[in-house]
Symmetry: C2
């Protein structure tokens, strides 16, 4: 019997009617001859409501208590979905993250999953139960409740799929799959049938909010096929899997992504000596700030400029860290800017085709868009631009790489 | 250092402002030189909101999933209260029922506490922490989340006070303490300074909703002094403790209680043979229906009438049980009535004073109120009357036993 893991996001369980619809879909999957584990997020905006409640109490809630608070959102969803499936007459059981044995590191707000104990899950599946698991949450070894950060339910789903050696992890969302660009910006964007983990990872990291990057990493690590599909219809969505030959030849560029959550910090006149970068980025890492792009300019008179990007929420903390180490590393000055965006092209086929980056830069130049930073990898090229220019850049690039299609696009948009 | 356990009900933590007020009160208690454990209920009407949500899904939610759902209410409260205390600058930690080691039987919706593990609590107290515990919830040995039923937070508080051998368990409510009668009905009712566990137990069972009966039982069993007091002021409330000599002499009757949640089932023409009552009440017990009063009428022609009362919510189930065993016990007929109330007088001094019951019946007769059932114990006399007559009965009895006082009465009423 195949094991299918299904994940439904907050908008799929936003109210009683939607929960009942999810219940029918889950039962359908089981009746088709599968063992089914379902991961759900908190209902609609309920996580935001809880955050607002905390803000009424304090502007700096303790991360531990924030996890205690937010973990309730998913617990409400699993109970309600289990009730809905029970009402349809099928054996069902809801389990919280801690109950299911999702062991995380002892970090609050963005804990990483260390292990998933598949024993209880497998046993309950073998007893004929549909299992509903709270996404986004886990527990440390000593029973502290942790959360995995935004998008954590995707990670829960793939981690459980990996632990159970599931045949597929279906991520249900309010779009049909992964598109060549955000259809709200590029109306002619079309759905990709398949995409590699690496491409998806780049797209996910780059702001195409269909799948959380950590879930894709996990999927790649454990070889879990991830099927991104719509909760509103039964159309096949986009399958995220290892590269197969035919895929590589399909497209030079799979998609164009953009991310408005970009802030840049620049350090001027940094002495060109060993250990400077280490000191700076270690200090940032200690505050758990994820640094995205890092650019070190060519040396002039033994002094460098270093610029890097972080998500906007981390900007204040990052600036404080940089201020604190500025003296020690002997930097001449500091600047920052929160009004930026990153526009990227992603494609596994890029590596064997020269000139892709140049074509992107040319398009930007033709549009009169200034590029502030550039970063490349084997399968992507990213440019930091002014936030105001991002939309125009995406449209122009999508067009110049001939990604336009006529696939019907879900009107509810691209982001999940 | 004294250990003080404080319990704040849903109305005391109904919004951010109230939570902040509770935080200040808790900190005050710690700063006065005590170790403090705080038990909180779900915010305001949030439990009812969760129940409504479940009702949108199904009219018969599984009890297990209902517990999963409802346990979130208290988890929200503890996180927010911990944030508020942290903001005031004091070390604090919130813990769910399962985390604190509140072990319950494997029953959903009204589980009984089997044990409380004081180890973690004592350790965190000794580390200087204020501890906030979710009331109303626990876990079975195999980690299933359970709830203790309405009023369960009182029980949590007293159970934790017992496990920690606390000096006092303070139950904060929106009234000043325990009154001789419901001030909404009897404006001249006055606050009792002290009351015995047994009296409180009778009052609690009889519908004076200040303290949950199970919490009083636990308090009596472990000798935990329970201080019922107002969360709106610092006045001493009512101390519930073992009888002391002076108390017994104070009053013949301590209070008049009423309970509108009464339904009666009558069985006619039941053969007068051994085992009939056992069969009937065992069948009811198996469905976990609490039977309150039981009256068996004098035998006529080897046949009896049996009448008993249950809470209204249990009436349908109870009637079904009785229908099922009616044949087996050879009963002639069955009747039921959900439109009743119970009016009771309670007093430890009653036992040594004859004529108390007679005086109550006389008052009822003078008011023209028909008594449908009577039950007595050493410290109480209860009468079942028509629901419409209950208020008038309470007023007349309170007056005839000369319980009227001039103590200021909180305008927010008697019930918590």
């Amino acid at each position: 019997m195949a094991i299918v893991v299904q994940k439904f996001g907050g908008s799929s369980v936003a109210n009683a009617e939607r929960i009942k619809r999810v219940a029918r879909r889950v039962v359908e999957t089981q009746q088709a001859g599968n063992q089914v584990v379902v991961i759900v997020s908190a209902m609609g905006d309920s996580t935001d409501d809880l955050i607002d409640l905390a803000k009424e109490i304090t502007d700096k809630p303790k991360a531990r208590e924030m996890d205690m608070l937010l973990a309730t959102g998913e617990q409400v969803s699993i109970a309600l979905l289990a009730m809905a499936i029970d009402k349809l007459g099928y054996p069902v059981l809801s389990l919280t993250g801690p109950q299911v044995g999702i062991l995380t590191e002892h970090v609050h707000g963005k804990a990483k999953i260390l292990d998933v104990n598949p024993e209880r899950l497998q046993q309950e599946l073998d007893n004929g139960n549909i299992i509903i698991v709270a996404g986004f949450q886990g527990a440390t070894e000593d029973g502290e409740i942790t959360t995995l950060g935004r998008g954590g339910s995707d990670t829960t789903a793939v981690a459980i799929a990996a632990a159970l050696k599931a045949d597929v992890c279906e991520i249900f969302t309010d779009v049909d799959g992964v598109y060549t660009a955000d259809p709200r910006i590029v109306p002619k964007a079309h759905k990709l049938q398949r995409i590699t983990y690496d491409e998806m990872l780049e797209l996910a990291s780059l702001g195409a909010q269909v799948l959380h990057p950590r879930s894709v990493e996990l999927g790649k690590e454990y070889g879990v096929p991830i099927h991104v599909r719509s909760s509103f219809n039964h159309n096949p969505g986009t399958l995220v899997q290892e590269a197969v030959d035919s895929m590589e030849k399909e497209l030079m560029v799979s998609g164009v992504a953009y991310d408005l959550n970009v802030a840049k910090i620049g350090l001027f006149d940094v002495p060109d000596k060993p250990g400077v970068a280490k000191m700076l980025f270690k200090a940032l890492a200690e505050k758990r700030i994820n640094v995205d792009m890092i650019i070190q300019s060519a040396m002039r008179n033994d002094r460098n400029d270093i610029a890097f990007t972080v998500v906007k929420d981390d900007l204040d903390t990052a600036v404080a860290v940089v201020e604190a180490v500025k003296e020690a590393i002997g930097a001449g000055g500091l600047s920052y800017d929160a009004n930026l965006a990153k526009v990227s092209i992603v494609g596994a086929g890029m590596v064997s085709r020269p000139g892709v980056a140049a074509m992107m830069f040319e398009t930007m130049a033709e549009e009169g868009i200034n590029i502030e930073m550039i970063a490349t990898s084997e399968i992507k090229v990213s440019c930091v631009v002014r936030a105001d220019d991002a939309k125009r850049a995406v449209q122009a690039i999508h067009k110049s790489f001939e990604l336009e299609g006529d696939a019907p696009v879900n009107s509810e948009g691209f982001a999940s």
